[in-house]
């Protein structure tokens, strides 16, 4: 069930109506949990057991850890067991075949013959998201940031809450569980803000991302046949496609949760307007970057043990962040490229600390450079193989290609420019907030008109969200 499917709108209407009609707060949570399981089970009901198992395991482990805190009988085994159990689920479904094949290839380098053992395993949708959420709950209890939740329903709902279940944002237990303790009131719902965010997300995903997808698909499928301008454009379009796809989903998730009275953290803040790579990571997939920072980078030592350890921790965090997206060398290269850029940026900042405000022109050019680097990294993220990624990178950087076929580029470029201009205008003038506060006829009339226009611009057949695969 996609957020852009007509069936989702029916599902959401029923879920939200019954939710607000129920008088008991407890029954409301049960209803939401049931709806979340239906939402997830629509893909493959068998993996519901995996999710319920994951919820139950972390629920029990958190209770054990809290009891140990109270009795003062802390045992060393609990943390590694929890990490091992959670990651082994992720490893089994997502990485087993990758590591088995890599081991075989590695052995072949030394002349050894190892028969590859691969499994026909279906990847559960959103496994990386709900596993990380479950782990963060346990870590927060372990670090005494939050108390263990006594209600299994609450923990299960935190892990399975359908708006953010399959593609984030990755919600922290400390943010979400307190929201489950008190009853929500319809009068408190920011109806306009939530509807607007959902509509913006829909436009980003269904109109922009899905319209750019065929251009990207054609070039990445056979780059050698296209001329350099088409390849260059396709890379830029992919950067926009993945942004609109993922941030569109996040916006819709936040909007849908808002209509149910829950607040989810913002996941994107116009990342392509960043002046440098550090800023980019403060604006791109914020829930993942802060998760990695809090649960990986800082526990590894962060920047507390000198620049060399800091750089090592940074690189490790980014490579593992890349690997989180999928089992492929391309994702490792992608993570490495971002890690490298972050290290260079830190060294540069140490050499030339910023004094006062950065000049707009300087910010513009450093932003352009950042975007250029991010686009090169996206090539590795998107290309099917490493050699293909290298070919596209060569054409993108040198603007040379043996191919002659040209794509009709006018309209997608207009869309890209309009998108960037709207992001800039929203950042500078707070357009979205202003729209929220216009008079009711203007708001609802505009919403109806914009929805009709957005539907008319949806290309035939909705494509799945890119981040569902992660």
């Amino acid at each position: 069930m996609l957020f852009v499917d007509p069936i989702f709108f029916v599902f959401f209407l029923v879920t939200a109506s019954v939710y607000w009609l129920l008088t008991s707060h407890g029954w409301r949570k049960v209803w939401l949990l049931a709806a979340s399981y239906v939402f997830y089970g629509a893909w493959d009901w068998r993996f519901l057991f995996l999710m319920i198992g994951c919820s139950a395991f972390n629920y029990v482990m958190a209770l054990i850890v809290e009891r140990q805190h109270k009795t003062g009988a802390a045992q060393a085994w609990i943390l590694p067991v929890s990490i091992f159990a959670n990651l082994s689920v992720l490893f089994f479904f997502k990485y087993f075949n990758f590591f088995a094949t890599s081991l075989t290839e590695f052995a072949a380098l030394f002349g050894a013959t190892v028969s590859p053992v691969t499994l026909q395993v279906v990847l559960p949708v959103g496994i990386s998201f709900f596993t990380f959420q479950a782990m963060s709950y346990f870590f927060d209890v372990y670090r005494k940031d939050i108390p263990a939740e006594k209600s299994f329903i609450d923990v299960s709902l935190y892990i399975a809450f359908f708006p953010q279940l399959v593609a984030g944002p990755i919600v922290r237990a400390a943010d979400f569980l307190p929201q489950l303790t008190r009853r929500r009131f319809f009068a408190d719902v920011n109806l306009r803000g939530s509807l607007l965010l959902f509509a913006i997300g829909f436009i980003k995903k269904a109109c922009i991302a899905d319209s750019l997808a065929p251009y990207v698909e054609r070039v990445f499928a056979d780059p050698a046949t296209f001329d350099a301008i088409s390849i260059f454009s396709a890379v830029i379009f992919y950067a926009m496609q993945i942004y609109c796809d993922f941030s569109g989903y996040s916006d819709m998730a936040i909007g849908a949760a808002g209509l149910l009275g829950y607040h989810l953290v913002i996941n994107f803040r116009a990342p392509y307007l960043s002046a440098n790579i550090t800023e980019f990571w403060r604006r791109w997939h914020i829930s993942l970057s802060t998760w990695l920072r809090d649960y990986l980078y800082i526990p590894l030592g962060g920047n507390r043990h000198g620049p060399r350890r800091r750089d090592r921790n940074l690189m490790l965090t980014m490579i593992l962040g890349g690997l989180w997206h999928g089992a492929s060398y391309n994702f490792i290269v992608w993570g490495f490229m971002h890690g490298l850029a972050l290290i260079v940026r830190r060294e540069w900042a140490a050499l030339r600390p910023a004094v006062g405000d950065v000049r707009p022109l300087s910010r513009f050019f450093s932003g352009l450079l950042t975007f250029y680097w991010v686009c090169i990294a996206w090539i590795f993220f998107r290309a099917a193989t490493l050699p293909a990624a290298l070919d596209i990178t060569y054409a993108f950087v040198t603007l040379r290609s043996p191919g002659t076929e040209q794509l009709p580029l006018g309209l997608p470029w207009i869309a890209v420019i309009l998108l960037m201009a709207s992001q800039w205008a929203d950042q500078k003038y707070g357009i979205v907030k202003r729209i929220e506060s216009v008079s009711w006829p203007a708001f609802y009339g505009g919403l109806g008109t914009a929805s009709a226009l957005a539907l008319a611009l949806v290309p035939g057949g909705a494509l799945p969200f890119i981040y569902f695969q992660f």
Binding site: F443, G446, G448, A452, A456, P459
Partner: protein, 391 residues
């Protein structure tokens, strides 16, 4: 003195329906839910909702109508081309064959004409077969041919069973192919087709719901503006290149034709029992004449044949052979032969009378002839049709 605040609609309803005494007691679960519903309704600003819906409807219908006017009706492959070609060349043809892929891949107009000429009839045939043609399409095409008929047209031959008006093809009502018909002009055709079809009120309602969803989807403007934008993919081969228009509508079935045909071909070659299972499955879906409602469907087809006859054109039913004739119940033919005495019935699905058609080598798959089988059938049909016309 302060003015007494008027009760809202919700509270007034509660006051009206629930006795004062009962109001003092704690309401039951149903009562609590009802109260909650009314309170929730009070909170929704209906004027906002109404305005948003109105703005949506006006914009969507404007976009839909404008896009249709700019783009014209979408080009549904084969059907669209055949309609265009026939409209431009209708005076050339005196016999039209109408039906599914079994007509499309069997009737070789030149072979039919040649056989008719040898039998003393100087007619020219057009093959209006379209893969998977379903009833609304058939009715639409039929009505178009009748209303814009050429004086040259003498006979319309249609297939015996059109496996579409049953529930098996409900999904078609929401397909892009049917979307072609969802316009105001076609609405009476649709309604007539659905409402005149003899079936239970519940079934009619069920189908009308599908039709309604189809119309709502079409007029909600979904993808209409996107459809006006230039296409990114490579241009599909011109339909003229496929050759069927040069062949008066006929296209031979070859192994490379289509993936679905390849699958059927493989099943036909490798698994002789496949057709029996497939036919049983189709019967369960109500797609074929073993359906208990076959007689009703026969009545609907009989009505269409009567419409043809009324317009001064001779109607004919063509029952093409099935590779396994024993798996089909011929209920419809019985009905039609009883009800429409003016219709010619060309029934070749008789293994004792036409054993030559049941040689397995003549079949591409369980439903379609190879080009050799098609030629054999076309020649036979040409001769029989001429004889019938002369009578």
């Amino acid at each position: 003195m302060p003015r007494r605040r008027r009760d809202s609609l919700g509270v007034s309803v509660i006051r009206y329906f629930i006795p004062r005494k009962a109001m003092r007691r704690r309401p039951s679960l149903v009562g609590r839910t009802l109260i909650r519903l009314l309170l929730l309704i009070r909170r929704i600003r209906f004027r906002s909702l109404a305005l948003a819906l109105m703005a949506f409807a006006i914009t969507a219908v404007t976009i839909s109508v404008t896009a249709r006017a700019i783009k014209g009706q979408p080009q549904v492959e084969v059907l669209w081309d055949k309609l265009q070609y026939y409209a431009a060349n209708r005076d050339r043809y005196s016999v039209v064959f109408l039906g599914t892929s079994r007509i499309y891949r069997t009737i070789i107009p030149e072979a039919v004409d040649e056989a008719m000429r040898e039998s003393g009839c100087n007619e020219t045939t057009y093959n209006f077969g379209v893969e998977g043609m379903f009833s609304v399409e058939r009715d639409y095409v039929l009505d178009k041919i009748i209303s814009e008929r050429s004086p040259a047209l003498k006979v319309i031959v249609t297939e015996d069973v059109l496996p579409s008006i049953g529930k098996a093809d409900d999904a078609n009502y929401l397909s892009d192919r049917v979307r072609y018909f969802y316009n105001i002009q076609s609405l009476p055709v649709f309604l007539d087709s659905l409402l005149s079809y003899p079936e239970s009120a519940l079934d009619t309602f069920y189908r009308l719901i599908y039709l309604g969803i189809g119309y709502v989807r079409e007029y909600s403007g979904v993808s209409h503006l996107a459809g006006l934008l230039p296409k990114v993919g490579p241009d599909s081969a011109s339909l003229y290149d496929k050759g069927f228009l040069d062949n008066h509508g006929y296209l031979a079935l070859k192994a490379e034709t289509d993936a679905s045909f390849e699958v059927r071909r493989r099943s036909f070659v490798e698994d002789e029992q496949w057709i029996v299972r497939d036919r049983q499955e189709q019967d369960l879906k109500g797609a074929y004449s073993a359906d208990p409602r076959a007689e009703k469907r026969g009545a609907h087809l009989a009505q269409r044949l009567a419409d043809i006859a009324e317009s001064g054109i001779r109607p004919a039913i063509l029952v093409l052979p099935q590779e396994r004739p024993e798996t089909t119940v011929q209920a419809i033919n019985t009905v039609i032969s009883k009800q429409v005495d003016t219709a010619l019935v060309l029934d070749y699905n008789k293994i004792t009378q036409y054993p030559e058609f049941f040689d397995r080598d003549l079949w591409f798959d369980a439903y379609h002839f190879t080009s050799v089988g098609a030629r054999l059938a076309s020649e036979m049909i040409g001769r029989d049709l001429c004889r019938a016309i002369k009578q």
